[in-house]
């Protein structure tokens, strides 16, 4: 059998959803296998790190790297795979923008450990043991990869050729990307691929009207009209500030878009853009004759209905956002 181009799929700080999205190709996975040699995928296969280390540089045609960089091991694997790959793809929202793992950038490592290993009511830890690089036991030392000071996305540490957005990327878009890779007709380096160029509103077939939002509401409060724009109904739908291409499965299921495809091209900060957009359509009523304090009170009352700013605006992009979180870079 002639050598097929090698494909690697690696997970760093991730949930495994990206691998499931690949498996969701269903029978097309056979076409992938026919065209490419999937030779490394810790979630599915038994190839080891040493096998990768043994490869010549650039031996892997394409690496789909999912997950954010949380630990030193994530970082080492990113650098290793970059060296061994011709094309490095940041695959999914964690690798592209930090995603859920990056929300930890509001806390220091010490705070995270305290919450998880010491202050957690369901944890019994009388000796106050927390993970550290090397722990000695009578049987010998064990090593755990240390946590980085903050969660990073892939491009903050290695050179990335392409980005595929999504949490996880939609399977039909993964297939599109594979077809492009197989065709050899690759887009310019740095492109975000496997997605559309508009916003989710383009994928969403709900009726859109002029927007004036009298109050934000949450899903549990009401059953939204399945035909009308969710944002107009007060749900904080991120679709307006999110790249298209997913096919809007969430809004089709009467759930607001949470923004996993990130910002469209030309928008550097998805959360900030969403804040600017919402700020423009929040209807706080007529303010003529009101004092500054009253106006500010109305705005605050409006905003107090958003329970979690970071979780809403930066669920997928905190690591790549302008402000980046609370812990230092």
């Amino acid at each position: 059998m002639p050598d097929k181009p090698k494909l690697a799929i690696y997970w760093a700080a991730s949930c495994g959803g990206c691998e499931i999205a690949v498996v969701n190709l269903h029978e097309k996975i056979l076409d992938v296998d026919a065209a490419l040699d999937l030779m490394f995928c810790p979630c599915l296969m038994d190839t080891k790190r040493k096998d990768i280390e043994a490869l010549p540089d650039r031996a892997i045609a394409v690496t789909l790297f999912n997950g954010a960089l949380r630990t030193e091991e994530n970082l080492e694997m990113a650098r290793l795979l970059r060296r061994k790959s011709q094309v490095m793809v940041a695959f999914g929202s964690c690798a592209k923008g930090g995603c859920i793992p990056a929300l930890a950038n509001f806390s220091t490592r010490e705070d995270l450990f305290r919450s998880i290993y010491l202050d957690n009511p369901s944890v019994e830890n009388p000796d106050a043991i927390i993970p550290c690089g090397t722990t000695s036991f009578p049987e010998g030392d064990i090593h755990l990869p240390a946590l980085l000071g903050r969660v990073k996305h892939l491009a903050q540490e290695v050179d990335v050729d392409y980005y595929i957005p999504g949490c996880p990327p939609e399977s039909h878009q993964i297939w599109n990307v594979i077809e492009v890779i197989l065709s050899g007709d690759l887009p310019p380096k740095g492109s975000t691929i496997g997605c559309g160029t508009l916003t989710v509103c383009d994928d969403c077939d709900r009726t859109k009207e002029d927007k004036r939002i009298p109050a934000f509401r949450r899903n549990y409060e009401f059953y939204p009209d399945p035909k009308a724009c969710l944002l107009e109904q007060g749900l904080l739908c991120m679709g307006i500030a999110t790249r298209s291409g997913c096919g809007a499965p969430c809004t089709k299921a009467n759930m607001p878009c949470s923004g996993c495809y990130g910002a469209p091209d030309g928008i550097s900060d998805q959360g900030a853009k969403m804040v600017a957009a919402l700020g423009s359509v929040m209807d706080i009523g007529d303010t003529v004759g009101l004092s500054e304090a009253e106006i500010s009170g109305r705005v605050s009352a409006f905003l107090s209905t958003i329970p979690d700013y970071a979780g809403l605006f930066y669920k997928y992009t905190l690591a790549s956002s302008t402000l980046g979180g609370k812990v230092g870079r």
Binding site: L198, C201, D202, K208, D210, I240, A241, K273, S280, V281
Partner: protein, 650 residues
């Protein structure tokens, strides 16, 4: 790219704090090829000439002027660029006077700041694009909605200037509310007599031919924009030709159908075909179809047969018509009405027949009114005592928070007119505040104040006041624990926007304030303009006002129209505006509600928003709001702004 940097010393204004030599030296290390020139007063005639000559010699690709605020002289220097053959939008000004020299103590710090600001301008100006003004053919004519004092005045002024005017009036008459009054504050001038010259000019004067008056008509649709509106107007059948009728009234005399006359509060009768009231203009009756016996299927042509002017004057078959007119500007002069006083509890309005609101009382006083000016109680007596209650629903957060501004003045006018006819009638004014601004309003108040039969009682809340029926069946007003008999009560309710204001607001996209009046572009500087270009506000549709101010505002709207739209001259469209990239717009329509000038519409064919450059003010609100980044603010693009920030922070 060659960039010219011109540094103005502004005499000592800038030179005292910022060293041009130090800036010149720093400019030497800026990226791009730059040249640096220091001028003493670049805005002076010499300075401008020197600047233009230098531009012609150096032929820079981009120009920076570090001088005063662009609010001062950006236009001046843009013209200099144009004179030198450069696109004027390739200029970037840096305000080193107001923002740096005047507010920075230490010259070294000021110079360092200036260098940063100029470097920012350099980074920005590199990205600036040549922009061209566009021109548009316009229609110089106007639509005036409402034929009250302000609307008539605006229409007349425009007609005198040679413009065609479509004057649309909902009622069968012109003159608005005041023409229904007997005498006016502050000089007790006869209202119809005062308005007659204007109404006469409008109907039959030298320029009347330029005015197309449509009574009993309403605007039902407006499309287009400033300079090029198309209005659709629904004209209800009057059944009487305004052009041919001479107003003899023979038709009314012959008409067999009778109803109560709404123009006289239903207090007098009228025929199905009749005048609104005596002396009304246009001097032609109108037929109320629902009252005419023909509406019951009966054959009748009594009016038509009675008309001495021929077959064609009365047209019983006339039907509703929809007409279209092309105009360049729209003047809203839709006026006001009164707040329904029955919504203010305890006033007895609508319960006790001798409780009137101010408009009803005006008709009672009027010689063309239901009682020909003789005002008696319903029992037919001269009232021995009469109460006038001010601020009914005004200055009241439960009703209308604002002061209606005119009520005190007409209340003291009532006082005068009542005393003149019945000097023995005791009059009590119940007021919360007294508002008598200006140089004339005090006179009628002084008369009332000196009148032994007049008393003023102040109350603090309308809740402390009650109009009730006393044991003897007479009305009494209870205030602050004191009961006073009143045979008649006149209420001064809040002045509110005329009925239909909200409908027009929706139709034209002209916003209303929380009180329902049309919202002006700026309360002080542009109270006669709406936020929509080419739609102007005349008279009390903008806020409660007296006739003087309404007439002035009517003239102001004519002024805007005449200045903005000139026959044979195109409308210049400022190129600093917003533009939607259709290929990036996903059609969320967020921008549409954001635009304060209603300049964005949705093109469902392309499923994308589109900005009308004529209406756009270039404010950038939509650019910031567009979540897809699909809107560009020309001359203030994201790239230009980011580059400027980068240059400053470098």
């Amino acid at each position: 790219m060659k960039i010219g940097i011109y540094f103005c010393n502004c005499g000592s204004n800038i030179a005292d704090k910022i060293s041009s030599a130090a800036v010149a030296e720093a400019a030497g290390s800026f990226p791009e090829q730059t040249y640096f020139k220091t001028v003493d007063f670049i805005c002076s005639e010499d300075g401008r000439l020197q600047f233009e000559e230098s531009l012609k010699t150096e032929l820079p690709d981009r120009v920076i002027v570090a001088a005063c605020s662009p609010r001062d002289h950006e236009a001046t220097f843009r013209r200099c660029l144009a004179n030198a053959g450069l696109n004027p939008y390739l200029l970037q000004m840096v305000n080193i006077r107001e923002q740096i020299a005047w507010v920075t103590e230490d010259p070294e710090v000021a110079t360092a700041k200036a260098i940063r600001a100029i470097r920012g301008a350099l980074y920005r100006v590199r990205l600036q694009q040549p922009l061209e003004k566009k021109e548009l053919e316009v229609c110089p004519d106007a639509l005036v909605i409402g034929a009250g004092p302000s609307g008539m005045k605006a229409a007349m002024a425009l007609a005198e200037a040679g413009r065609s005017v479509v004057l649309v009036e909902r009622t069968p008459m012109i003159g608005g509310l005041p023409v229904r009054f007997e005498e006016l504050f502050p000089d007790l001038e006869c209202a119809p007599c005062m308005l007659e010259p204007l109404m006469g000019e409008l109907l039959h004067g030298d320029h009347a031919g330029k005015i197309e008056l449509m009574t009993m008509s309403e605007v039902i649709e407006v499309t287009g924009f400033y300079g090029n509106f198309i209005a659709r107007i629904r004209q209800l059948p009057r059944h009487v030709s305004l052009h041919e009728c001479i107003g003899c009234g023979e038709c009314a005399a012959a008409c067999p159908a009778v109803t109560m006359n709404g123009f006289n509060n239903g207090a007098s009768e009228r025929k199905a075909i009749d005048f609104a009231f005596t002396g009304v203009l246009p001097n032609a009756p109108f037929l109320m179809e629902d009252v005419c016996v023909r509406s019951r299927g009966e054959e009748c042509r009594a009016c038509k047969d009675a008309c001495p002017m021929g077959e064609d004057v009365v047209d019983l078959e006339q039907v509703e018509q929809i007409v279209e007119r092309r105009i360049g500007a729209i003047i809203l002069a839709t006026g006001t009405g009164l707040y329904d006083a029955s919504r203010v509890t305890g006033m007895g309005f609508g319960t006790f027949p001798d409780v009137y609101d101010a408009l009803q009382f005006e008709r009672l006083l009027s010689s063309t009114g239901p009682t020909a000016g003789e005002f008696l109680t319903r029992a037919g007596n001269v009232p021995s005592s009469l109460a006038i209650i001010h601020c009914v629903g005004s200055l009241d957060n439960d009703h209308k928070p604002y002061c209606s501004g005119i009520c005190c003045q007409y209340a003291f006018k009532f006082n005068h007119l009542i005393s003149a006819r019945h000097p023995d009638t005791a009059i009590t004014h119940y007021h919360r505040e007294l508002v008598l601004p200006g140089k004339t309003a005090h006179t009628l108040f002084r008369h009332a104040d000196r009148n032994a039969n007049t008393s003023l009682k102040r109350y603090s809340s309308i809740d402390d006041l009650a109009v009730t029926l006393a044991d003897d069946g007479r009305l009494q007003v209870s205030a602050n624990g004191e009961d006073n008999v009143a045979d008649m009560v006149v209420l001064c309710p809040a002045v509110i926007p005329a009925e239909g204001t909200g409908r027009l607001s929706a139709l034209l996209d002209v916003g209303c304030d929380s009180s329902g009046f049309f919202r002006e572009l700026h309360g002080r500087m542009d109270a006669a303009q709406s936020a929509i270009k080419g739609i102007y506000l005349a008279g009390s549709c903008q806020e409660p006002m007296d006739i003087q101010k309404a007439i002035l505002q009517g003239m102001a709207t004519a002024g805007y129209t005449l200045a903005g739209l000139q026959p044979g001259r195109t409308l210049e469209i400022e190129p600093i505006n917003a533009e939607v990239d259709e290929t990036r717009c996903a059609g969320c329509r967020l921008c549409i509600s954001v635009c304060p000038y209603r300049a964005i519409s949705f093109d469902s064919g392309h499923n994308a928003s589109s900005v009308n450059a004529v209406l756009c003010h270039g404010c950038g609100t939509c650019v910031a709001a567009c979540p897809a980044g699909a809107i560009t603010g020309h001359h203030f693009t994201n790239d230009q702004i980011m580059a400027e920030i980068e240059g400053v922070l470098k």
